[in-house]
Amino acid sequence: MGAPVTVTSPDAAGPVQEVAEEETPAVTRPGRFRPSPLGWVPRLVVWAVIAWVVLIVPLGHSAIDLQDFTRAVCYAIVALSLNVLLGYVGQISLGHAAFVGIGAFMSAYMVTTQGQSFWIGVLAAGAIGGAQALVLGGVSLRIRGLYFALVTLSYGLVAEENIFQIESFTGGGAGQQAPKPQWFESEWRYYYLCLGFLAIVLLLDWRLMRSKGGRALLALRENPRVASTFGINVRIATLFAFVVSGVIAGLAGALIAHNDLGVSATTWNFNLSLVFVIMTVVGGLRSRYGLVIGGAFFALMPYFLEKIPGLDNALAKIPAPFDLTPELAPLVVGPLLLLLNLIQFPGGIGQQLRPIARWLGGHRFDLHDRGLKEVQITDVRA
């Protein structure tokens, strides 16, 4: 009873451990792969190429092209916003053009009519995006799944036909002007500003998902009933996600407004809401790089179509009274990609690029690493 308990000191195994480390220096923990210094070189080269394409290549283009690139960045932010709702919580918003559009108008209104600075405008846009989400979500707390989609669609129509007609706010048919901020007046500076905002949103998204709240959202998506047994308040969590989504959407709207130097009501319609949903799903739910690429791709589709030589001639051969204009292209190509995505490639672009993304992050290149097998939007007994 009084005998002292001998505790074997971990250093007892010391000599053996040290020998093992000397023999295989690259592996400090068994099972975890770290690339060798030689392995890092190709990875860093690809990173450098990506950085060059994103940061340097756009500078060689005209101001109008730069506007397109900035719009691509803003669409990427919209995709990230919609992903919070669609990918993390599993609720669908078919009226997201309303959130982005009202954010755009708010920022334009603040800067032009109220004489505030760009930063206040952006702040106000994010605030009103979150406020809308709060009100809409608060009213529809009990409404889930299919019916929630219906409510958001109807709300999108209300925004189109009622809210955007408030003359004092939106300037009626003429729209509102939205000049660029003070030190970012040239197109390329504004492009970098928007890239900065994208980086902030990506960071926030990453931090959110690593927190307890983020895990609660994912649990909520998998099975709301089981999640509630773990003490997650389903309604509050859904509302929280909705508000976050709304704030980011409003922010994106503000950036788009100042990029186009003006906002008009006709841009923010039902078709655009659907394009937003399509680009989020095609980009790949819950895959940050996929979403950015998806959003950028859809925004740049008219731009790419213009640049491909001979496409105009090929399209003109199709017997139709009007040409497939570049503006119309996303509306035609989008649904086709969506159907392909839903039927064949549930994880979207993100899923296809996952082996490369994992490789860039310092893992082995595994062609068959596709992450989750199927992307469920949500399963609802509606």
């Binding site: 599993g90 669908i92 078919l94 009213v139 529809s140 009990r142 409404i143 799944g145 299919l146 019916y147 989609a149 219906l150 409510v151 669609l153 109807s154 709300y155 129509l157 209300v158 189109e160 036909e161 009622n162 809210i163 955007f164 007609q165 408030i166 003359e167 039902f270 078709n271 659907l274 394009v275 949903v277 399509i278 799903v281 139709a320 009274p321 009007f322 497939l324 119309l328 509306l331 035609v332 989008g334 649904p335 086709l336 969506l338 159907l339 839903l342 039927i343 469920q376 939007i377 949500t378 399963d379 609802v380 509606a382």
Partner: protein, 324 residues
């Protein structure tokens, strides 16, 4: 208990209708009753197609409006090429059925086992594709489209002219509602459709092909959408790509929700109610500029939204539906 619940929904519906009529007459807007019934018939027709698809596949068919859009485009094309109107209508309905068939085969079949919201997004994609193709071929201007019946002075109720076209619409709705009601309760095929929606495995076990039933249901729903478009839109005189989705789909969904997503007669009743309420909102003076409840833009859209959210919050199963 079931009977009491059904009766309760009916009772609420009756009370609402009576209240509406009283308010309309009191405020001098009784014309909204007639105009609302006309537009509501169109909503009801589309809503019946929505309920049909929901009853059989459990999915909200966002392409329902554009099935009608395809019919409209075909009608316009055929009519512009001097095809006799009756043949043009038939051709338009055939086009709608083909669209529904293709949608079911290409989109719905592969996603049979998927969550219903995935299918919703897919049908929304189909709708967008249809709108885009229409804009490509017709550009976004409105085009005039001829009516089937041009006589307008046969009837007039409460000072609102009931043109032959409008009478055709209301009669079609009533006839179809009755026929479908009988179809689902009395015929083998109808019962098979209901059975397939409730218990697909058991239905297959008794030798009924669930897949063929699904194709049939979607084609039928597309036919209904086509009918609604072909009768209702020429009455307005012109057709714009996407008109079915922007003007008819949301009120139709609201009508279906109001009537209860599982009830066919509910869809009809819901359609008429939504039509009347929307018509009242559009013409009542308190909603116009300078009125007490001045609503910017079209008050009709806002009121439909309010009705939708109201029904979903207060009584999600609608008037005649089973408990949600």
């Amino acid at each position: 208990m079931e009977l009491l619940r059904a009766r309760r929904g009916l009772l609420i519906g009756l009370v609402v209708l009576i209240a509406l009529v009283v308010v309309l007459f009191a405020t001098g807007e009784e014309q909204a009753l007639v105009i609302g019934t006309i537009s509501g018939s169109a909503y009801g027709l589309v809503a019946v197609g929505l309920v049909l698809v929901y009853k059989s596949s459990g999915v909200f068919n966002f392409a329902q409006g554009e099935f009608g859009g395809v019919a409209l485009a075909t009608l316009y094309l055929l009519d512009a090429n001097d095809v006799p109107y009756a043949l043009a209508v038939v051709g338009a309905l055939v086009a709608a059925v083909v669209a529904g068939f293709l949608t079911e085969r290409i989109v719905v079949r592969p996603l049979f086992e998927s969550p219903r919201v995935t299918l919703l997004v897919a049908t929304a994609g189909v709708a967008l594709l249809a709108i885009a193709i229409q804009v490509w071929f017709f550009d976004s201007q409105g085009r005039p489209i001829a009516k089937a019946f041009t006589r307008t002075d046969r009837f007039s109720v409460l000072d609102v002219q009931l043109s032959d076209q409008r009478i055709w619409l209301i009669v079609t709705l009533l006839v179809l509602a009755a026929v479908l009601g009988l179809f689902f309760t009395r015929t083998n095929l109808g019962l098979a459709v209901i059975g397939a929606s409730q218990e697909p495995t058991a239905t297959e076990l008794v030798g009924i092909s669930v897949r063929r039933l699904s194709t049939f249901t979607w084609s039928l729903a597309a036919l209904l959408g086509g009918l609604a478009a072909v009768i209702a839109v020429p009455d307005t005189g012109s057709f714009t790509p996407g008109v079915m989705t922007s003007n008819y789909l949301i009120p139709a969904f609201t009508a279906a929700v109001l009537g209860g997503m599982t009830s066919l007669p509910g869809a009809v009743v819901g359609g008429v109610l939504v039509g009347i309420v929307q018509s009242y909102a559009t013409s009542a003076s308190i909603f116009q500029d300078g009125g007490a409840l001045d609503v910017p833009g079209t008050p009709g859209t806002l009121i439909v939204f309010v009705v939708l959210v109201g029904v979903l919050v207060v009584r999600p199963q609608g008037l005649l539906g089973k408990t949600a």
